[in-house]
């Protein structure tokens, strides 16, 4: 009972006469439509969450991977000398695109939120910070070893300590979104299978009559398959439209304060991804109903 391309075309084109042989089931049809719509609505959010988490992981990873900081922790009289030595080392280090020491004013600005604007930096043992821009080929371990030999007061921070968990969390959130979407698809398959089994059992008499007059199994199965496929397709289409409107109405974050909660949504061609949901729901319904019909028809004499 494999579905060929021609059969699929016939399935979509429909057959008014064939559609009528199975009695209408108003309440079951409405439930199937509602369930498909609700699942599609949830799937839109799962996709939006997954895509947003993916974007966040990529952005955090990219932003943090391109920067590193060097702290020069040395007595005040050696600080300038070691800073110059460190900058000289960085100039010859592969993978370091740029490096510059922060000025006193910039360091004071960094500390201002905690110590106020009038902080006398000269009176405090504040380390000198060197800001680095890194690129492909940067080897933090090799640089640390070289600095330990040539600039004893230098401490390299490539942001890996706090970058890793953040990127990992965002990546897992992305995977979780896809897992949720997959579970929703599986739930649609289970729901359609249950509904199709119920419909086939309730219509055992109809099937007996159809067989008596020479209907083939594929004809009988298609009468049910087409019905459930179209229900899943139309229900999911409504659910996707509702989901897209809901996502579109979500508040968005500014460029200065991007976040996961304010970043849930689609961007560019990402808006087209949810349009696949009704097609997937229809395909799942088609396969689920066909499998249920094959099993049920095989069990009936």
């Amino acid at each position: 009972m494999t579905l060929t391309l021609a059969q699929m075309r016939a399935l979509l084109a429909g057959d008014r006469q064939a559609d009528r042989v199975v009695p209408p089931t108003g309440f079951t049809a409405q439930l199937t439509l509602f369930a498909a719509g609700a699942m599609a609505f949830l799937a839109v959010f799962a996709l939006a969450l997954s895509l947003a988490a993916g974007r966040l992981a990529d952005r955090w990873g990219a932003e943090l991977a391109q920067t590193a900081t060097l702290r020069i922790v040395a007595p005040a009289d050696q600080r300038a000398e070691q800073t110059a030595a460190a900058l000289a080392v960085l100039e010859t280090t592969p993978g370091v695109a740029a490096a510059r020491a922060l000025s006193d004013a910039e360091q004071a600005a960094l500390l201002a939120p905690w110590f106020g604007a009038e902080l006398p930096l000269d009176a405090l043992p504040v380390p000198r910070l060197i800001e680095m821009e890194t690129e492909r080929g940067f080897d933090p371990t090799g640089l640390s070893l070289r600095l330990a030999a040539e600039v004893p007061g230098a401490v390299l921070d490539d942001h890996g300590r706090w970058r890793g968990p953040l990127v990992s969390a965002a990546s897992r959130l992305r995977v979780l979104g896809w897992v949720v979407a997959t579970l929703i698809v599986a739930a649609v398959a289970a729901m359609v299978t249950l509904a199709a089994n119920a419909a086939l059992a309730a219509n055992a008499q109809v099937i007996a009559v159809l067989r008596l007059v020479g209907a083939t199994d594929s004809y009988i199965a298609n009468a049910f398959v087409r019905r459930f496929t179209l229900r899943a397709l139309s229900g999911a289409a409504v659910g996707v439209v509702a989901g897209l409107i809901a996502v579109w109405l979500m508040p968005t974050g500014s460029a200065e304060a991007p976040g996961l909660l304010t970043g849930i949504g689609f961007q560019g061609v990402g808006w087209l991804v949810p349009l696949l949901i009704p097609l997937i729901a229809a395909l799942v319904a088609l396969i689920a109903t066909q499998t249920a019909a094959r099993r049920a028809l095989g069990g009936l004499s």
């Binding site: 006469q17 020479g214 209907a215 083939t216 594929s218 004499s301």
Partner: protein, 225 residues
């Protein structure tokens, strides 16, 4: 056409039909008689592939049913018209659509064959009942509709299982006349019935071969029938 050779059929551990051979050749009018529960319906189901024999061979149009898939059997059923005592219809469809159902499932829509359908409904006297739903019609009208449905594909064989079981004498005579007309058109007809009066009435109109089920065996009946 339909050949049963050394056939036996058992169900639930009990033997229902034992080692018999029957050939339904093209043309003749057959009766199958025997008491209720003798196995008449089982015999008919063997004849249209609804049951497989537990021993022996059933050949439908020269094809052994054991070698046929369900879809093959479905295609063969389009060549065999079946009428049951408990007429089975799709109750949500009008009588005309039920009669045209064999055309629908074979991809030949009843609309395209409207004239045939109309002619057939006239033949069974149901032209005024086309739009009615089956549950709204009487037992006799439903039986005539079932007969029309059984012959709409111009089958070579018509099998009728107690077709007059739920109708009065006048209606059973009317149905019998229709079946005799079919036989005169060249169709092989087999009627399973326990009503000997129906067999005697038929013999007045047509030469009939009578089979009887006795002691789980199908055999040719004697001159007493």
């Amino acid at each position: 056409m339909i050949e049963l050779e050394n056939v036996a059929y058992s169900s639930g551990g009990g033997l229902l039909l034992a080692d018999f051979s029957v050939i339904l050749a093209p043309g003749p009018f057959h009766f199958l008689t025997g008491p209720s529960g003798a196995g008449k319906t089982t015999f008919l189901k063997l004849c249209y592939g609804a049951l497989l024999p537990t021993a022996g061979h059933v050949r439908l149009f020269e094809a052994d049913v054991r070698g046929l898939g369900r879809d093959d059997v479905a295609l063969i059923r389009r060549r065999i018209g079946v009428v049951h005592q408990d007429v089975q219809f799709l109750d949500h469809l009008p009588v005309a659509d039920n009669i045209g159902l064999p055309l629908t499932v074979s991809g030949r829509h009843a609309d395209a064959a409207g004239s045939d359908l109309g002619e057939l409904m006239g033949w069974v006297g149901l032209e005024a009942r086309a739009a009615a739903l089956p549950p709204e019609r009487s037992g006799g009208e439903r039986q005539r509709a079932a007969l029309a449905r059984a012959v709409i594909m111009s089958p070579e064989v018509v099998l009728a299982d107690e077709p007059t079981g739920n109708v009065d004498w006048d209606m059973s005579q009317r149905l019998l006349t229709l079946l005799v007309e079919l036989n005169r058109m060249g169709k092989t007809v087999l009627i399973a019935t326990h009503e000997l009066s129906l067999i005697r009435a038929a013999k007045a109109q047509v030469q009939a071969r009578v089979l009887r089920i006795a002691n789980r065996r199908v055999q040719l009946a004697g001159a007493d029938l």
